[in-house]
Subunit: 157 residues, 2 copies
DNA sequence: GTATAAATGAAAAACGTTTTCATTTATACT
DNA sequence: AGTATAAATGAAAACGTTTTTCATTTATAC
């Protein structure tokens, strides 16, 4: 068990959540993944790596991790299917490629000033924010250029 | 028909969309509302105000308006149910009360600098962003204070 | 080892949204 | 005005994702 997993396991125990094999399996998959995964994708990976676990349990475990503030979601992915997950640590946001779905994390959003202004203007007490950029990653842009060039060379009908 | 509706009707026509009574009914409800509405809420309002229209048509019309860039969504509302809609005009964002669901619009997000930095660092071409604040509106905060005071005065068991 | 509350999984339900397809209709063109 | 055509509609069914239910199992504390 990696150190991140151990840390999270401790948090779970402290908060009264039991450490079941299923939860540890989900945790392992989520922590191990470089990408942001959907519940369905986590389901698949867990089954391959650890054996049979119900999809319901995946959802329940994800809700638990969300309760604990240990996972995060991607919001603007295509038609806001609930896309999501990974990275327990620091405050960060996402940059999503609308074409291939690639997600890049970034930190340093610097919204405090704006948050202060809004709080003052509206009387809201602000607890959190969603910030997400969408665009086209270098890869997909290159592909697009290649296709255009091909079109240029194609025989006209 | 209000001037906003006329303007949108013109855009629809220009883009080859037909002006059906159903579409005009949806448009009317959306433009008239001060609040952000769900498809279901729009469905109800349309039926009360204009008579029978299929829910499917509501969805299709909303998709059309989205295509035209004339409506916008609220993302972080509770459990990212697709919450949404309204306001054809300028670039803006939302401040959402997690308690009562109230949505306040604001402008001036000033993310250009951050956008430039990310573009440079990642090679992404950024087309859009989601920014949304969540918190508690003045109303709900006052209510909470009142409840606390009541608790204080309650007879201990 | 035992008691207990919590967690699991299968099945069904719930939910919001989309597809299908036969019918109707807004628009463009006589 | 009358007609042709592609587009829009609505009912029903399908869809994918998530939640509920409930009987069974299990991690934890004693």
């Amino acid at each position: 068990m990696g150190s991140v997993e151990k840390k999270i396991a401790t948090i779970m125990r402290e908060r009264g959540y039991k450490l079941t094999p299923q939860r540890l399996a989900v945790l392992n998959v989520v922590v191990d993944s470089e990408d942001h995964l959907t519940p369905a994708a986590i389901y698949d990976k867990v089954r391959h790596k650890h054996g049979a676990v119900g999809l319901v349990t995946i959802y329940r475990t994800l809700n638990m991790l969300d309760d604990l503030g240990l996972i995060c979601q991607v919001h603007g992915h295509g038609d806001n299917r609930s896309y999501l997950i990974r990275r327990p640590l620091e405050h960060h946001h996402h940059l999503v490629c609308s074409e291939c779905g690639k997600v890049v994390d970034f930190t340093g959003c610097n919204l405090c000033e704006l948050e202060r202004r809004l709080s003052e203007e509206t009387g809201f007490e602000i607890d959190s924010h969603i910030l997400e950029f969408a665009g086209h990653c270098r890869n997909c842009r290159n592909k697009a250029v290649k296709q255009d060039v091909q079109m240029l060379h194609a025989v006209p009908e």
